[in-house]
Subunit: 332 residues, 2 copies
């Protein structure tokens, strides 16, 4: 018999019980008498029976599946950030025995809401419309990676302002006054906030803000390189650089090496992300680590509560990043 066509009826017949008992065996075996349980067990094995997920779901059973929606963009598969989010969420779900349905959407929105109990929406790049559409469908939703203060939705985000502030302040406290900032893509919330934090830190340290020290480099190594060229072609070069991502910071390191600028002697560098890919011949980057794992499992917890209707209050959570001191900032 084709194993793909074995149904609950076959199992019931084989075991000499009703289909209801087989169903009970599947969902709550402990309420069955031991002997029937064993007979069903045997029949299941013998027939190689596997319940049809779709039938279970349609009949009102739960699917125990969460969706993770991520906007697709060029380079997402090379993005440490996006991958860490996927990793964090899948780990958090594994512990809870919930399946993960990942949906990366490019132009067309082909997310099948009916496949999941709830959704974690990773708003890595700007994507408010997609979020609104989701919310309209009344699916339990938690946003990660972005503060959504103006909507009735829970989120878990990282305090990027604080990250930018701490990084810059760290440089200032170690004596730097010529601190440049390589910004990310300023149309994205996190990049903007890191810049704001940078500005605030300079202000609090009584360092005047110089616009030529602030360069938008869109999280791109190529753009970072260009920004650096420009910055170092003028007379008044910085003694420290805060890059809004480790990728860009790594470009700074490469640039410095080529130009014979000693890091950290002549130039201190601090990045953002704590990206393990960014090792530079044994050089370890001083950086700002985001609690991505914590973000993921906090979001999963909140969504689980929502789905189970245990705690449906809207929660807006902001997690603090942490400075990781390594080799690229002169601590003298």
């Amino acid at each position: 018999m084709n194993p793909r066509k074995v149904t609950i009826i076959d199992v019931a017949r084989e075991a000499g019980v009703s289909i209801a008992s087989v169903s009970r065996f599947l969902n709550n075996p402990s309420i069955l008498r031991k002997s029937s349980r064993e007979r069903i067990q045997e029949a299941v094995k013998k027939l190689n029976y596997r319940p049809l997920i779709h039938a279970q779901r349609l009949a009102g059973g739960k699917l125990d599946t969460f969706g993770l929606i991520i906007p697709g963009y060029e380079g997402i598969f090379y993005s440490f950030y996006a991958l860490e989010i996927i990793r964090g969420v899948s780990l958090a779900l594994e512990r809870k025995n919930i399946d993960l349905h990942i949906n990366i959407f490019w132009d067309k929105d082909n997310f099948k809401a009916s496949l999941v109990d709830g959704v974690i929406f990773a708003d890595i790049i700007n994507n408010r419309n997609q979020l609104l559409r989701l919310l309209r469908q009344k699916i339990p939703t938690v946003v990660i990676n972005r503060k959504v203060e103006d909507l009735d939705v829970s989120f878990v985000a990282v305090d990027n302002f604080k990250g930018g502030y701490e990084a810059t302040n760290f440089l200032a406290k170690h004596g730097h006054r010529k601190i440049a900032h390589l910004c990310g893509d300023l149309s994205v919330q996190c990049a903007k906030e890191r810049l704001d934090g940078y500005r605030e830190a300079l202000k609090n340290n009584n360092i005047p803000i110089k616009e030529q020290y602030i360069k938008a480099a869109g999280f791109s190594r190529v753009l970072a390189r260009e920004a650096l060229k420009e910055m170092f072609s003028s007379s008044n070069t910085p003694t420290a650089i805060f890059a809004a991502s480790d990728e860009m910071a790594q470009e700074v390191l490469g640039f410095a090496r080529e130009k014979g600028i000693d890091v950290p002697q002549d130039l201190s560098v601090i990045g953002f992300d704590d990206n393990p890919h960014c090792v530079h011949d044994g050089f370890s980057l001083t950086t700002v680590r985001q609690p991505l794992g914590k973000m993921a499992y906090t979001a999963v917890d909140i969504l689980k509560d929502l789905v189970d209707e245990k705690n449906t209050s809207i929660r807006k959570i902001i997690l603090a990043p942490e400075i990781i001191i390594r080799d690229t900032v002169n601590l003298a």
Copy 2:
């Protein structure tokens, strides 16, 4: 009305037609009269109706979803190879409008076969048992990344022997006779075949095989580093190294720089993968590129034929890799 509870019945009532017509609208609108089609269209929009996937599937409609099964292992999210496979498959499926259900399995096999029409099994590390279990379930299956000559299953793989052969031969043809090989994890088919190719190429070039030039480094940078230390502590150091992955090749480059060994003047290096992460301060690695994209869409094509029962013959396809000549092999 709760948008999650709008059913086909509501739409039918709203449009003043039968549910059968709404179903036709969903699946094959062209057979409906224009006027009804428009009325249904309107009702769908007004009620924000979305069919329940599970009901559709259960009722015999197709799901148009393929599964991609990948064994989970430490570092999979940092693995260029695994990510390229995911990327390739998702691109190939996107063109065909088929959904992708990715299943990364760690210890427990929690793949829900009933969610998909067929499966692409990426046997990156050894995982024959899982494959056998899958085959037993009679799900249409295509294996990628591994030759499975002894089972009745189609596969698409890369000719790793040829890759290893060509890489080594390339070095030999450019005058090298002291050619070392940093092997990958030799319990994995591809690593073993690259080594075999290396051996064969040496033989054909009348270069005696020296076992101290062959070091297993498990695709790991750390192990590669150790192997290099050992290799370069002896007297008879190689003039060329073929590394079974770009990651390991990159470690060679770092090692050489530290030791003041000039690449490619004193040491030629060739990698494997064409991994864009492996850039080394403007240095471009000569390497062997695997046709991963082609592998992915070939596999998708085969699986689609299987699922549609168009061509159910078993196909065993081996694709040739290609040498990418760049800066790290001395062409003099």
